[in-house]
Symmetry: none
Subunit: 228 residues, 2 copies
DNA sequence: AAGGGGAGATCATCTGATGTTTAAAAAGGA
DNA sequence: TCCTTTTTAAACATCAGATGATCTCCCCTT
């Protein structure tokens, strides 16, 4: 008897994916030059023998990927320099650890500043929750839980900044940094004497005092950096 | 006579983009856990007060970005992969313009600070060169050359920061922002009365005064932000 | 020469209808 | 009771039609 798990469902080709791939291939093959106009939607419907919504979803995907540009009343055009970008995580893995650290420090500081200006009650209660869990784990000497809570606390600050781009940047940098330091058998934020600073950061954000929040965040970061 | 600069085109946010931003925000803020199901299409229609095709296009964008997973008969679920394997440019294309701007502001400031601390003679001469070219273009009313020199000047500052990760971030953010603002028929850094501030930034960096460099960079940025 | 006003092209959005896929409930048989 | 089959409901996939919004272009008037 075969294991069911060893099989995968046949690639059920959705029409939209098919259209996306075909257009993408045409672009990759250089059939279009930057600035060239794609056929209008009704024509694409005939060319691909699909409905309007299928065409529109396919085009929308390529627009969001940055390959095409759509303008009402004008049409759809091919954008210039479709340079192949690598994922940020890959880029960071290639980078010097100190550079990644420095960049994350920049993000950390801005996050604290924005959080102090924008936090709402929900943000504060989340931060408080993780801060308490962090303290608890510290007293019980639960390194695992401590590390988790510490990350969650900082993530809660990030979320309070209300800027999705910065949140994503912070998440990516922290993840890569954590991986890299584990690999080097370095402890990633597992030093106990910082509880006071974390409390200070929380209080500053709660008070809405951006300058103080930045100041205490810097205190934490400078201590972590010294271990590198 | 009214100043042209005092007007701004009406921000015509397409419904699909709005829906994408809202869902992205929820995901980035961690409101969903991996595996969580999104409400079905009819419910989303009611929640957002838009038609089904609008919902479908928005979901399709996030699926193509790798954040969501759609299965016929099942529904739409949040993908497990927390760290998105997605080029940064693509992520920025999906973001709200104001969020990208805010993040680049953060980078710009840190770059000025680091440049003041780390610039060498070569950096300074490069900055001087582009600053002169910028001034020259301004007097000759060569908008094209002015824009190019302005970007080069700021890029020279970035390079002086000596952090490759931050340089790459800055380049990516600037490019995406430039594209986006061009598309909105907004001028991207083409206001003349800032020459003094650019000179101040250069002088501060030359003196190695990080605080002053940040201060004057903020002056420039606050003026650009006011146009958004 | 400047501005007004269509006409046409093209995308944006909504709505209704029908087909497919999936999971789970219901039914049936041993 | 347990296993298999059938049915049903949920949810996405796709198409078609209609209306609105936006942009370019051209012609006309002043």
């Amino acid at each position: 008897m075969f294991k069911k798990e060893s099989f995968q469902p046949v690639q059920s080709t959705k029409l939209v994916d098919d259209v996306v791939h075909q257009i993408q291939q045409q672009i990759s093959a250089g059939k279009f030059k930057p600035g060239d106009k794609l056929p209008p939607e009704p024509e694409l419907m005939q060319l691909f023998h699909v409905g309007r919504s299928t065409i529109r979803e396919a085009i929308r995907v390529l627009v969001s990927a940055g390959l095409l540009e759509k303008r009402q009343g004008i049409g759809t055009t091919l954008k210039a320099n479709t340079i192949i970008q690598e994922p940020l995580t890959q880029r960071l893995h290639r980078a010097k650890l100190i550079e990644v650290f420095e960049a994350r420090k920049m993000i950390d500081i801005e996050i604290s500043r924005l959080a102090a200006l924008r936090r709402d009650d929900n943000d504060l209660s989340n931060m408080r929750k993780h801060l308490d869990a962090r303290e608890m784990a510290l007293q019980q000497n639960d390194r695992e839980q401590y590390a988790r809570s510490d990350i969650e606390f900082h993530m809660a600050i990030a979320i309070a900044s209300k800027n999705a781009v910065i949140i994503d940047l912070y998440r990516t940098f922290s993840q890569v940094l954590s991986d890299a330091m584990n690999q080097l058998n370095l402890n990633y934020r597992t030093h106990d004497p910082q509880s006071q600073y974390h409390e200070q950061v929380y209080e500053s954000i709660k008070q809405g005092d951006a300058d103080q929040a930045v100041k205490w965040t810097l205190e934490i970061l400078n201590r972590t950096l010294s271990e590198l």
